[in-house]
Symmetry: C2
Subunit: 355 residues, 2 copies
């Protein structure tokens, strides 16, 4: 029944499942009020427009890893994670005041621009913020509905829901810890690693695999193997993101150069640099990190300083170590061989990317 | 098996169910990180602290109306609506920039004060906003989990979930339409009535009744009766809220006098006043409505003007008409008699209150 499903092809099937689900939701909103149609279209643009579909890929291969055949219902279940992720991004951009996302204006900026162009009353920014909060809430609500109605049998959905619930709780808790760490200007490497474990490693890799495996009725040994693979690979994914947030090419990442520096993100890379900095380097870091008006020269100075402490090389070493640990955990695991190969390729693709 | 459950007693059982559920969630967050405990405690304070428990009451009596006996699982299912409501209030207060809720500082103000007192870095307001968005998200996620794990059998939960999903979608869509109406400075009575139908009538009364009735396995005639009762009673509930937002006693409502006027809310009361105003009255309304610095004298002038147009008396007439229509819909309906009496009392209590 099953044949190897290539990554690109899977991504297209995920997008098709989202397109189908969201068309139904758009019709539902249109029935309530014609004024809701632009809001539905904004969600559709946002969700279908871009994205690496990482979480659906891990959820899908989590299902396949249990030895279950390819099927559209599993793809739909996996695709529901993309709606949760849309909520996380919309709310995150409001919290960070981010102007752009994936190379486009962020959702709250889009609605602020709409308000401005229409010449409505009150504050455009306030309207943009409200719209992004509410559209994010809708995406979160709909992610539950999409998973529930994925087409797998009731018993499977019933098994999967607690995993999904835990995943939603963890990513939200991780976001809160991240906001708290920024506020407390935490510089400990351990704090930064704790945040990325919840916010990324569990959320992006481990829990999607658990969800797919649990929907498939996989046993505890499979769950344990997914953890042994997922946590290090997920950490490596975020560490790559942290490196790209400082050293990435804006043309590839879709974000302004050095955006994380301007935002003052407390990443592992920054924490390592702070730990290893001499007095002069530390003074530079304290002065420039989190400066919203940070210039191109300032970005260049911080890049040089962070590399100069050895923090960049250390993070690259940590990435390589984690990818090796994660992929070697697959060797002895009770995972379907085709899924094992796909997970090995995903680990490399997720951590060697340029954007 | 069943005996009449008094309103106060039901409210206490709802609170007890929430206390029990949230204690489990607090323990779950504490396991993830000790830094999450204050966030869990803030949610617990917020949810257990106050509230009329209106939506759980309607959901509970929706269950009983189908002839099903009192049971703790039905109370727990009903209580889950209070977590959805907590999300709506937390996010609403961020969007409106409200300083207070139920006589206490709003959640985002509480976290801003915490940030301020701790002397953390960055903006206290930004931290407060982020915390309120994320804690609201957690409440929304947890409401699904509480309903799913309420203790009713799987088939009942499976029946109820689409109703719950629709309810969540409608209230969020209604909030968006409300924000849009404020931005567009909409003054049409029809627009204001459309918003309160989604935002309040369906959300506060009709859908909770449908949820309870559907969990109980009620038939389409019961659902239709709940709509015939729920929509007018729900509209009357919001119309009472609108009157209290302008004429309410701060000591009873927990909100500053004339708060809705200061916020510039586009209520049915205001829309009627605008429609009936003469040139001078209209100029006063346009000048003062939505002025964030509106003085006590300004509030008094607007109160007098709105009553002077006859809008206040008209809204009182609309409330009475809707309560009569809703309660008379109960007479011929296939509803358990004890539940019918309770719904009649609830309609009066919800629309004759002073705060």
């Amino acid at each position: 029944v099953s044949e190897p499903v290539q990554a690109a092809q899977l991504g297209e099937r995920v997008t098709a499942a989202l397109r189908h689900f969201l068309a139904g939701r758009r019709a539902g909103l249109a029935e309530l009020s014609a004024d809701l149609v632009p809001a539905a279209d904004a969600i559709i643009d946002y969700v279908l427009g871009a994205g690496k579909r990482m979480r659906p890929a891990f959820a899908y291969w989590g299902w396949r890893g249990a030895g279950r055949p390819d099927c559209d219902a599993a793809v739909t279940a996996a695709a529901s994670l993309e709606l949760l992720h849309a909520c996380a991004l919309m709310h995150d951009d409001v919290m960070d005041g981010s102007e752009t996302r994936r190379g486009q204006p962020s959702l709250h900026r889009r609605f602020a621009a709409l308000h401005d162009a229409a010449g409505w009353g009150g504050s455009p920014d306030g309207f943009g913020t409200s719209a992004a909060i509410l559209l994010g809430d809708l995406c979160l609500i709909w992610s539950f509905a999409m998973l529930r109605g994925c087409g797998l049998d009731e018993a499977a959905v019933h098994r999967g829901m607690p995993v999904y619930d835990q995943m939603c709780t963890e990513v939200t808790a991780g976001q809160y810890l991240d906001v708290l760490a920024q506020a407390q200007r935490a510089t400990a490497v351990e704090t930064a690693l704790g945040v990325i474990r919840l916010k990324t490693a569990k959320y992006t890799v481990e829990r999607p695999l658990h969800l797919g495996g649990t929907l498939a009725g996989g046993d505890p040994a499979l769950t344990a193997a997914y953890t042994a693979y997922g946590l290090p690979v997920g950490e490596a994914f975020q560490l790559r993101d942290d490196v790209l947030g400082v050293y990435g090419d804006p043309a590839v990442t879709g974000k302004p150069a050095g955006d994380d520096l301007r935002e003052g993100k407390r990443t592992v890379l920054v924490a390592l640099a702070a730990e290893r900095a001499d007095t002069g380097q530390r003074a530079l870091l304290d002065r420039l990190l989190g400066d919203p008006a940070l210039s191109a020269d300032g970005v260049a100075a911080l890049r040089k300083m962070i590399a100069g402490t050895g923090a960049l090389a250390e993070v690259e070493r940590m990435i390589a170590e984690r990818v090796a640990a994660g992929t070697s955990a697959l060797d002895a695991a009770p995972i379907d061989p085709a899924a094992g190969r796909a997970l090995c390729e995903l680990a490399v693709a997720a951590t060697a990317r340029a954007g």
